[in-house]
């Protein structure tokens, strides 16, 4: 059976890597943002004791992993479910787990690629200096963020229309990133946004990454971890219910 999982993941990776609107945008946009705000603009800004390039490495890292994951699951599943391909797979002997594991493999791979590229830019051009342990921990925490956001992507993939899904993902992904303090530090945001932020998984993900790079955290780290795990579980549950409901649609 492990052969099937491996094959499914390999083909899903090839499929998504060749799909330029996925591979170019999930890698390109976070890098562009980071180069602009974290490298070019950074010397003119400061954020407490931490260099801006280091602060934004944590939050844009979180932003990249969210994007790679939400598009792989949300847009990918919505199209395959809505246009009949998932039915073909479900009629075949493919183990259901292989389908989701392959989407997770794509999210982890692309997440890891963007985070690694961000790290290289941060170290070479952003002047970010951290102990080796912090780099490693940050990399791991960011890439692992694909797991809870995969669950959120599954819910989007279960409800979004096949053709409108990429737009739907953007309408959730971009505001969630902005309001969760991933584009600009949460402290410089208006009070109203600072009050909404704790309701968003993106905020907790960002706070975990910031705690690793040495930014004094809002709230406690265990609380952020629990919140993110909670979001992951709730969305996984919703996706589960949505999938079983989806089976009975009308056909001629």
């Amino acid at each position: 059976m492990s052969g099937v999982y491996w094959m499914e993941a390999k083909m899903e990776l090839r499929k998504m890597a060749r799909l330029k609107r996925y591979s170019l945008s999930v890698v390109g946009f976070p890098l562009m943002f980071y180069i602009f705000y974290g490298v070019v603009m950074a010397p003119s800004m400061s954020h407490g004791a931490i260099p801006v390039s280091q602060y934004l490495l944590a939050t844009y890292g979180a932003f990249s992993v969210m994007g790679a994951t939400l598009f792989a699951f949300g847009a990918g599943m919505a199209a395959e479910r809505g246009l009949g391909w998932l039915e073909v797979k479900r009629a075949s002997p493919m183990p259901a787990g292989a389908y989701l594991a392959a989407k997770m493999a794509v999210s982890l791979t692309f997440g890891a690629m963007v985070v690694t590229a961000l790290f290289a830019i941060a170290a070479m051009f952003g002047g970010v200096r951290m102990p080796a342990g912090s780099w490693l921990l940050l990399w791991t925490a960011l890439v692992a963020g694909a797991v809870p956001f995969g669950a959120i992507g599954m819910v989007i993939g279960s409800f979004a229309g096949p053709n409108s899904a990429p737009g739907t993902v953007n309408m959730i992904y971009l505001p969630m990133a902005f309001l969760g303090g991933l584009w600009f530090p949460i402290d410089i945001m208006p009070k109203a946004i600072r009050q909404i932020a704790p309701l968003l998984p993106s905020y907790h993900f960002g706070q975990i990454a910031l705690a690793i790079v040495g930014v004094p955290a809002h709230g406690s780290l265990p609380l952020h971890l629990e919140a993110l795990a909670g979001f992951g579980l709730v969305f996984a549950g919703v996706a589960w219910v949505a999938q079983s409901r989806d089976h009975e649609r009308m056909y001629g």
Binding site: M7, M16, W85, E87, V88, M250, G252
Partner: protein, 243 residues
């Protein structure tokens, strides 16, 4: 024992009765065509036999098993109506992936030959013509070396040449000993391929037999006339019941 059967299957979607007590069985080595107009219940019958949908009443079995069971799945293949297939995988990659789902798949080269895909196996799916795309879906249906094939309107929208090519591959599958349930609204297709035809209309089996029997039954020379006669008769009968 039939390789697949529906016993008194009813399927209701809310107010709509898609199937009303359908009995249908496919025996080993035969090609059964399920013939009917759009909306007659053909796809619903196939979906139930593939385990994608549960009957409201009655029972469906494939090789004596529940249609959604793994034992049933590994012994059958399916070509379904699908609006979009992932376009950034190559023909060969699609086949390799589906082959990996089965215990004893055909060698990939053999599947490529049996579906007439030689020479285009390294093209991306998105670069193929309509006829080539249907042949890839046919390849995915047969790559697991199944005993039973479900083909849901496999030649819809194809030009004559592509349709004839696919027919040849379907015939070759039957010749190797496979059984097939084919749904179609092309009478010519049922006439050309089927050992037996079941005519379905508004969720009921209206007639069943060899193409010749069906023609004889209605005193018509072509299957098309027979089909129209059955549809007409069936509507009259339904009208009587309603009155």
């Amino acid at each position: 024992m039939p390789v697949a059967e529906l016993c008194g299957v009813t399927k209701r979607y809310g107010e709509v009765q898609a199937l009303r007590g359908v009995d249908l069985s496919i025996v080993r080595g035969e090609l059964l065509a399920l013939l009917g107009p759009n909306g007659a219940g053909k796809t619903t019958a196939v979906r139930i036999l593939l385990g994608l949908s549960e009957p409201t009443a009655g029972e469906a079995r494939v090789f004596g098993q529940h249609p959604a069971s793994q034992e049933a799945k590994v012994r059958r293949g399916a070509l379904l109506q699908v609006a979009k297939v992932p376009e950034t995988l190559k023909v060969r990659e699609h086949i390799e992936l589906f082959s990996s789902y089965y215990r004893k798949p055909l060698p990939v080269a053999e599947t490529i030959a049996a579906a007439g895909l030689g020479g285009i196996e390294n093209r991306l799916f998105g670069d193929l013509s309509g006829g080539q795309r249907q042949r890839v879906l046919f390849a995915l249906a047969i790559c697991g070396n199944p005993d039973l094939l479900f083909l849901d309107e496999p030649t819809v929208g194809l030009d004559v040449e592509s349709r004839r090519t696919l027919w040849a591959h379907i015939r070759a599958f039957v010749k190797r000993g496979g059984s097939v349930l084919l749904t179609t609204h092309y009478l010519e297709e049922a006439d050309a391929l089927a050992h037996r035809v079941a005519v379905i209309d508004r969720g009921r089996i209206a007639a069943e037999g060899t193409p010749a029997e069906i023609k004889a039954q209605t005193g018509t020379s072509g299957l098309e006339d027979a089909f129209l006669a059955i549809m007409h008769e069936n509507r009259d009968a339904a009208a009587e019941v309603l009155l």
